[in-house]
């Protein structure tokens, strides 16, 4: 844990918390304003999503009332979306795309990150700068040419056509986070292995990778969330439910008539596709925060 990230390091220092408490605790009681602020944060962050759940449990006339609790809670909207083949297909597509991208990005990215963190070769700065510059690329600048290119290569409207660009956009983050994780692993461990006759590559996958497991988990989670979330390429590189992922499918959700917005079912679908991400947040809050802030504090 101590190697996880600056955040954890700061919290993990034995004296810090104790000293804080000693300094602040006895001198003044809990500030009531702080409670107000904390309550404000909780309501601000959670209420909108609560509202969405609330709407998703209403049908018919209840939908046009703004009750904070559904007067006649029903799972009808959920039943309806799980009978919708396009939605089921989109869930499958999203799962395949996100998991594949996560796995491949870990493998390819950890190679690159290890070379950048440990091996001696020329052009390191150039490669890292090139990798990081991708994070500033606007998706739209890639979308139009990829749309044409994928059509020519006949991978337009396929899952592989989504996986390839997602991988490219996931790699910089993976590499950036893993480089800093790899650097925190003491070099002496690999050096001992090298002395014992291991190759550089063996030192990498037998020693560094297991030790960097927390870092790998962090990048895996962030990559999965990115791939699950991506929207612009998902709608430009697909044209039917065959390859549409959940965000794309939900944006084109239509009601029984063209002018009716099926508010209840859209809300239910929105809740369902958010569940995997909420679960990740609940289970891996520390990892996610460590990953998100790993670049910020060192800068």
């Amino acid at each position: 844990m101590a190697t996880a990230a600056p955040t954890d390091v700061a919290l993990g220092k034995p004296g810090v918390l104790a000293r804080e408490k000693a300094r602040k605790g006895p001198r003044k009681g809990p500030n009531p304003l702080l409670y107000v602020a904390v309550a404000g944060i909780v309501v601000f962050c959670l209420f909108p999503f609560y509202w969405l759940i609330n709407v998703s449990l209403k049908t018919g006339a209840d939908l046009s009332g703004a009750d904070l609790l559904p007067p006649n809670p029903t799972l009808a909207n959920y039943e309806s979306i799980f009978r919708n083949d396009d939605f089921i297909k989109a869930l499958q597509n999203s799962a395949i795309v996100s998991l594949t991208v996560t796995l491949l990005s870990l493998i390819i990215g950890s190679f690159c990150a290890y070379a950048l963190a440990r091996l001696r070769f020329r052009g390191k700065y150039f490669i890292l700068a090139a990798v990081l510059s991708v994070t500033t690329f606007p998706g739209i600048a890639i979308a139009a040419p990829l749309f044409k290119l994928w059509t020519d290569l006949e991978i337009y409207n396929t899952l592989i056509g989504l996986i390839i660009p997602y991988l490219t956009f996931a790699l910089p983050l993976t590499i950036y986070i893993l480089v800093s994780f790899f650097k925190e692993i003491p070099k002496t461990l690999e050096e001992a292995a090298l002395v014992d006759g291991a190759t550089n590559f063996q030192a990498f996958y037998k020693i560094v990778i297991p030790l960097a497991a927390p870092g790998m988990a962090t990048t895996a989670i962030l990559t999965f969330i990115f791939a699950w979330n991506e929207f612009l390429l998902a709608i430009t590189l697909t044209s039917s439910s065959a390859a549409r992922t959940v965000p794309a499918s939900i944006a084109f959700f239509t009601g029984s008539t063209q002018f009716e917005q099926p508010l209840g079912t859209i809300s239910a679908a929105s809740v369902v596709i958010s569940i995997p991400l909420i679960l990740l947040v609940l289970l891996f809050q520390k990892r996610i925060v460590a990953g998100l802030t790993s670049g910020a504090v060192k800068g």
Binding site: A10, Y114, G139, T168
Partner: protein, 316 residues
């Protein structure tokens, strides 16, 4: 790129002998780096080049594959089109407003979270919820909240007897953009808060204690100690958010399809090449978006460029 395909390292130098068998260090490095570089070259560098090529040609809408050289005519058409200019204005207005509000709110949230020792873990989880929720779902959520007939806001205004209950929020210029800013602030102020919280946590207590001894008030300590020491974290957070806001696409697409003064640069380019099928013009607009984003990030990286150099150069 030339360095990637560097000639095989001379085997037998002392360093390589130390690693015993296996590939030489430099050759291993080339092998390990190349998959990433190849992917980035194919999916990022090549398409940008291709986009520039597309933007310099005109394509027939009726006959697929028919094109002719257009020079800079597409760019001329883009920068003189009213929709593009208004999209440019909207994008900058949206970026300025949302990033500013996110910084204020994020800073406030970070300070509160920093002061709240007991529930900090729980608070961080709570704060991550908006961050994790898909942008598309964020848009749908705020649509339902601002829905003119059955939304939360309208009903609240009605029951409190406040004016504005008959506003069609997403149907009016100004309000539509305000809802978009609001939705973005909701989704990303927490992210800002987490970055700033991490920055706050590395400020040593001694600094505050020293300031206290010198008789600085809480407000003075915030202005003279916290803010300057938080500057690097604030800068990084601002970069991330500004670049994202300049590229914004999903939010206006789902909220309004770009209607009522919410059309952004990315959305306008998408509309041209995807909806209207005008590939050359759409590509030109994409390239312009790219140039604008690159220019802004270049300005930022002037400030924090040392970070990349430090990462790459530390051990060499």
């Amino acid at each position: 790129m030339a360095t990637v395909a560097a000639p095989p390292a001379t085997t037998g130098t002392p360093r390589n002998r130390r690693s015993g068998k296996g590939l030489s260090e430099r050759r291993l490095a080339a092998l390990m780096v190349s998959p990433s570089i190849v992917l980035i070259a194919i999916v990022a560098a090549y398409p940008i080049g291709y986009a520039i090529w597309l933007s310099l040609n005109e394509y027939s809408v009726r006959v697929p594959g028919l094109s002719r050289w257009a020079g800079l005519r597409n760019y001329e058409a883009a920068v003189t089109s009213d929709t593009w200019i208004s999209a440019l204005g909207t994008t900058f207005l949206f970026t300025g407003a949302s990033v500013f509000l996110e910084l204020l709110l994020g800073l406030g949230m970070a300070l509160a979270m920093h002061a709240a020792f007991k529930g900090q873990g729980l608070l961080r989880t709570v704060v991550l919820v908006p961050w994790a929720i898909l942008t598309v779902v964020t848009a749908i959520t705020w649509q339902t909240i601002f829905n003119p007939e059955l939304g939360f806001v309208t009903t609240m205004l009605n029951s409190l007897g406040l004016p504005g209950a008959d506003t069609v929020w997403l149907g009016e210029r100004g309000w539509a953009l305000a809802v978009m800013v609001f939705a973005d602030v909701w989704k990303t102020a927490p992210f800002m808060a987490l970055l700033l919280l991490a920055g706050l946590q590395v400020i040593p207590d001694d600094v505050y204690d020293a300031a206290k001894v010198d008789g600085a008030s809480a407000w003075q300590r915030f202005l003279r100690v916290t803010l300057p020491l938080l500057r690097p974290a604030i800068l990084v957070a601002l970069i991330f958010r500004t670049l994202d806001a300049l590229r914004i696409f999903d939010l206006p697409f789902v909220l309004t399809r770009g209607a009522n003064g919410t059309n952004t640069l990315s959305l306008e380019a998408y509309t041209q090449f995807n909806q209207n099928g005008i590939l050359g013009l759409g590509a030109a607009m994409s390239v312009l978006t790219f140039v604008i984003v690159m220019f802004v990030s270049f300005l930022y990286i002037r400030f924090v460029g040392g970070n990349i150099r430090a990462m790459a150069g530390e051990d060499t």
